[in-house]
Every structure is written in C-alpha cells, then in structure tokens.
C-alpha cells in the first residue's frame, strides 16, 4: 500500500512537472500594458480576407473550413480563450493582441496545451495585429457571432481617447463584422471607460443594449471575470467590475 501511494504521488508530480516544462513562464513575457494602436507597427497582414491562410494559426483544427466566429479583441494572456475553448469545441475562436511579447506568450501557451491535452484546444488561436486597423483584412461581413472587449486599455488622457478600442468610428466596423443577433461583451473595472463604451454602442442604431438578466443562460457570462488575468487581478485588489452587453440588430433606417 505504501508503494502504491509513493508511485501515485511521484506520477502526479511528474505529470505536473511535465506539463510545466511545456508551458511558457509568464515572467519572460511581461510587457508594458499600453501601446499606441495608431502608430505604424510592423505587422504582416493579408491584403484581403480571401488571401488569409488560417492553418498556421489553427494548426490542430481538423475541419477544412476555417471560419472564425468568436473574437477576443485585446486577448491579453489568453485566459478567456482557454476557458471558452472546451465549451464550444466546434467553434473557431481567435484572440487579437497588439503587444509582441504577450501575443507570443499566448501562442506558446496554446501550442503547449494542444500538445499536452490533444485533441482539446484545437479551436483557439492568436494573431499579433492591430484590431483597430486590420479587422477588414481578416474577416468578411457578418462573419462573427461573439465579440469580446475584456478590460480594454482605458487611455485616460483626453488626447489619448482616440486610442480607445471602442470609438464611434469603430463601432460601425464592429457592427459590420457581427451577424445580426451577434453579441458584444464588454467588461472593465474603470467606470469612466464603461460609461464611454456603453454610450458609444448605444448611439449606434445597429446595436441594442442587453441586460444581464436576459443573458442568464449564457455559458460565457461566468467566464468573463474569472478567466482573464486582468479579471483575477481586479478580484484580488477588490475592485468593482462593470459589464455591458449589446446585440447586433438590423438597421431600423430601412424599416420605415
């Protein structure tokens, strides 16, 4: 009985150790949280969505059809993607992150997960790109079903407001890529940013606000705060979290 116990413990520790070997260590991937999205970073991006090769982003995906349906804009260290992946195994999910080190971390993390927990996690991938400029290069009209803005950079100074990922110009783009019925999830601990995002989505006739009660059955809801690194940080420091949800609707302009 003693031997069984010892070997069980050794096996357990070995498993943990092996998994840790494959997984990236976050301390090597830390990067300053703020990045100027309007500067000319060097990105590679396809000239149009039809020219995009998705296989390198989703190497373990077995389906011939690559149609990303969930998009996490500013996915950070990838927490939301990792926790959503097992809930929707047949849905392709993409994270976009502008910071070099952070997007590389997510890439290494997903790779390690796919290797050690195969065939799980084949439906998530990350792209290092500027979502504010290059969404049209990757997606077709009405392609997306869910769009996530989790703890976006608040860019507090008034002169930097145009760097905010939700602004009046981009709300029209987000509406273009979401199919009618598609959902936007916004989460932040900065009240001013929450009000800003709510105001911008409300001003656009292509979105209608959705209350939390209406989403009681949505499996994504509980993940929004717990899964991301930012969310955990906020929870530890005891901050309040503001959430807002919007549904893409048809243009009422034509109903008249």
């Amino acid at each position: 009985r003693l031997i069984v116990e010892i070997t069980r413990q050794i096996r357990r520790k070995l498993a943990v150790y092996l998994m840790m070997m494959a997984l990236p260590q976050k301390k090597y991937y830390r990067q300053r949280a703020h990045s100027n999205p309007l500067a000319d970073h060097s990105f590679e991006y396809p000239a149009s969505p039809t020219e995009m090769l998705w296989k390198p982003i989703f190497p373990a995906w077995n389906n011939e059809r690559y149609c990303v349906e969930f998009l996490d804009i500013g996915c950070g260290y990838g927490g939301l993607l990792v926790s959503m992946s097992p809930l929707f195994p047949d849905t392709l999910m993409l994270g976009m992150e502008i910071r070099v080190k952070v997007s590389d971390y997510v890439k290494d993390r997903i790779e390690a997960l796919q290797k050690t927990r195969s065939p799980l996690y084949s439906n998530i991938g990350v792209l290092r790109t500027n979502a504010m400029k290059y969404l049209p290069n990757y997606f077709e009209k009405g392609q997306l079903k869910k769009l996530f803005f989790l703890f976006p950079d608040p860019h507090f100074k008034r002169t930097k407001h145009k760097w905010r990922v939700v602004n009046s110009a981009l709300v029209a783009e987000y509406a273009y890529f979401l199919s009618p019925g598609g959902m936007v999830y916004t989460v932040t601990d900065v009240h001013a940013l929450h009000e800003w995002m709510v105001q911008h989505f409300k001003l656009c006739p292509l979105f209608e606000a959705v209350s939390e009660d209406e989403l009681s059955g949505d499996p994504v809801l509980p993940l929004l705060e717990k899964s991301s690194e930012e969310g955990q940080k906020v929870a530890r420091s005891g901050g309040t979290i503001h959430r807002a949800f919007f549904r893409r609707v048809e243009d009422s302009f034509y109903v008249k």
Binding site: R1, L2, E5, I6, Q9, I10, K13, V16, Y17, M19, M20, M21, L23, Q25, K26, K27, Y28, P37, L38, D40, H41, S42, A47, S48, P49, G79, V82, S83, V100, K101, D104, R109, L113, R128, M132, K133, Y134, P136, N137, K141, N167, S168, A169, L170, V171, A172, E173, A175, Y176, C204, P205, L206, S227, Q232, D251, F253
Partner: protein, 394 residues
C-alpha cells in the same frame, strides 16, 4: 500643386484652377458674342486643399488649409456661405440633392455640413482609423479610401451602416473615381502602382490593372497619383498619372470592368503633371509646373482599335488661351502633394524579440528546481517548489 476642377454639366465651358491661395475661374459666356472671362475667387490666405462642383454644376465648394470652407453659386459667382470646419480637409463632395456638402479630413472622419445654412453645425458621418485620402459618391453610397489600403463603401445618410469593404490594394489608395457611363463602377488608384475596378452593386472586384512595377530592390513602386475618366465615350478612356513620371498612361475601360492599355494614346509631357481631368466634351486638361505652358489641353478621339489625343492650341480654345498664364499658376509651386508621407515606415519590433527568445530557450533548458507557474485550469495556486509530500504513516 495646381488643382483642376471642371464643370460637370454640358451647359457651359467653365474651368476652375486652384494654385496655392489663388482660385481662378475661366468660363466662356454665351450671348451675342462669345467671350472668355477670367475671375479670381478669394477664400483665405492659405493654400486650397480640395474643391468640387455640385452634380448640377450650380455650386462650387472650396476648402483651404486653414480649415475654411467656402461655397459659391456658379451662376453669378456670389459666395453662398463660408464657415470654419474643425479639421483640415482632404476631399469635398456635394450630395446628390445639393443640400449638404461632405468633407473628408486628415483625422479620418467625414462630416456633413448644410450648404444653405452656414450657422448649422456639422455632423460626423463616419470615421476611418487613418487619413482619408479621397472620397466619391456613387449609387447612394459614400465611398472613402485611406492610407491603410482600404476602400470603404458606406450607406448614406446612415453611414454607420457600412455597405462593404473593398480590399486588395497593398499600399495607400490615392484616388477614387466613378465613370459616368457605368454608374455602379468605382476605380481606385493606389501607391502599389495599380488601379482596381470595383462594382458596388455586385460588390466585387472586376479588374486590376498594374501600371507601374518595382524598378529595383530598394525603390518604391511609383504610385498612381491621378486618374482621369472621359465622360461620354464608351469604352471609357482612363488616363493615369504616375508619381514623378512625365508620361500619362492611357487605358480603355469596358462595360465588363476590364481595361486594356492603349499605348498609342499615351501622352508624354515635358514634366510630371500636377493634375489632369476631362471636361464634359471629353477634352483632357493638364496642369504642369512649366513656366511657358502651365496648362495644356488635348482633344480625344476614340475609334474602334484606335485612340488618339490631339493637342489643342490657344486658337482652338479661348479658355485655354485665357488661363495659360504663369501668373495664375505660380502659386502652386511648393504646395506639392507629398505621396511619400502616406507610405508606411516599416520597423520591425518582432525580430529583436524573437532573437532574444531563441537565445533564452536555447541557453536555459527546462529547470525542475526553479519557480514554475501553473496554468489556471486546476484552479488552485500551486506550490512554489516541487517536492514530494512526506510519506503517510501506514
């Protein structure tokens, strides 16, 4: 540089040339005797950045670099209104009903202002995340193009509802034009040296025509800087000006959207032109930084298999004679369009990071004794150092 703006309606011969601060209008007046009148319009002390006639030709809007927007009634050249807009304009267009003027600006926004009521505030219709270089209105859509290789068609007036993105160019888009003969077509010229023909009803690319290729390894491809389309001929005559090139390339655009080059009609000028445009009778007007002949005019003849441009002289066109004076054009020297500033500076922040990473992965193999972090799947915070638990008492 000298901006040309030609009267769209066939009722009168009227050309507007904006060179720096001076705006000169030359028109032939009808009546008992045909005479050409040249008049100067004053807007402000800053150079003119863009101008445009309304679809009927009854109104002219001019934007200056100091954010002034002035509109004239072309009947008698009385100013209708002047206002100050918040941002520097890059393109100006009247709406179809001529009630509003749309102004695209350097910050990437398109705003709408009332033509009649100068005191009414403008409203922002749409925005790009980049400088808007040109704008046209076509089939009830507002079509805008920017530095980030994008052509966007938005519904109007509900511009928050994007109709379509037209992607495919690999460098900034410099010019947008719509042929009158094929109302659903839009042509876009780009810094990648080509122009593309799009159909906004079928919502697809019809044709790509490459006008300039990469010369050497280090050289940038010459950008398409001007596109002039004839108004009445079918097939449409497309005149293309390339960056720093004195040659105007010519193509024929067919109803299918395809274009074929017609090298026999190419025009070789003495210098790279400032601007070129067709007037309603399909004469091509070209402005050049040349002291002796700053304005040239060519008559077009399109026959089956043969196209030709014949240069006109002062005797052939009184407007040409009246306008072709260096005094009028000298203000344009120095206000050149800097196409190179629209090109992106590539700097690579990935390579250095990857080199550092490779070094790190190579030197340090996985170390069991070090502090390791665990993924959040298990939920619990792991122990810092891996060690075996003490054996249970049995």
């Amino acid at each position: 540089m000298a901006l040309l703006c030609l009267q769209p309606s066939p009722s009168r011969d009227c050309i507007v040339v904006a060179c720096g601060e001076t705006v000169t209008v030359a028109e032939t007046t009808s009546g008992p005797e045909l005479s050409t009148v040249c008049r100067h319009l004053s807007i402000s002390r800053s150079p003119v950045v863009c101008l445009g006639f309304s679809p009927s030709g009854q109104l002219l809007a001019v934007c200056a670099d100091d954010k002034a927007l002035k509109i004239w009634r072309t009947q008698d050249w009385e100013p209708v209104g002047q206002r100050v807009i918040p941002k520097r304009a890059t393109a100006v267009q009247f709406t179809h009903d001529e009630q509003y003027v749309l102004v695209a600006d350097k910050t990437g926004e398109v705003a709408r202002y009332s033509t009649a009521d100068v005191s009414a505030p403008g409203s922002v219709l749409l925005g790009h995340s980049s400088i808007i270089v040109d704008m046209v209105l076509c089939k009830g859509l507002v079509i805008t193009c920017d530095r980030d290789e994008k052509v966007r068609a938005s519904n109007y007036p509900n511009c928050y509802n994007i109709n379509r993105f037209y992607l495919g160019h690999t460098d900034f888009i410099s010019v947008l034009r719509c042929p009158k003969q094929f109302s659903a077509m839009v042509l876009s010229g780009s810094g990648d040296g080509s122009f593309k023909v799009w159909d906004v009803e079928q919502r697809r690319l019809l044709h790509t025509e490459v006008c300039a290729v990469e010369e050497g390894e280090e050289e940038d491809v010459k950008a398409v800087t001007q596109l002039a389309l004839s108004h009445t001929t079918i097939p449409v005559m497309v005149v293309v000006a390339l960056e720093e090139s004195p040659e105007l390339l010519t193509y024929l655009l067919y109803e299918s959207g395809h274009t074929t080059p017609c090298p026999e009609a190419n025009i070789i000028l003495s210098q790279p032109p400032w601007s070129c445009a067709f007037d309603w009778s399909d004469r091509l007007w070209v402005t050049l930084p040349c002291e002796t002949h700053p304005l040239e005019c060519y008559a077009l003849s399109v026959n089956v298999g043969q196209c030709q441009f014949t240069k006109l002289f002062h005797e052939d066109s009184p407007v040409l004679g009246a306008l072709c004076k260096w005094d009028i054009f000298k203000g344009a020297v120095g206000n050149e369009m800097d196409w190179n500033s629209l090109r992106k500076q590539a700097f690579d922040n990935v390579e250095m990071y990857m080199a550092q990473k490779d070094e790190r992965m190579g030197k340090k193999g996985p170390s069991p004794g070090g502090a390791l972090e665990q993924v959040e799947e298990d939920g619990a915070k792991p122990p810092k150092i891996v060690k075996l638990d003490p054996l249970p008492e049995s």
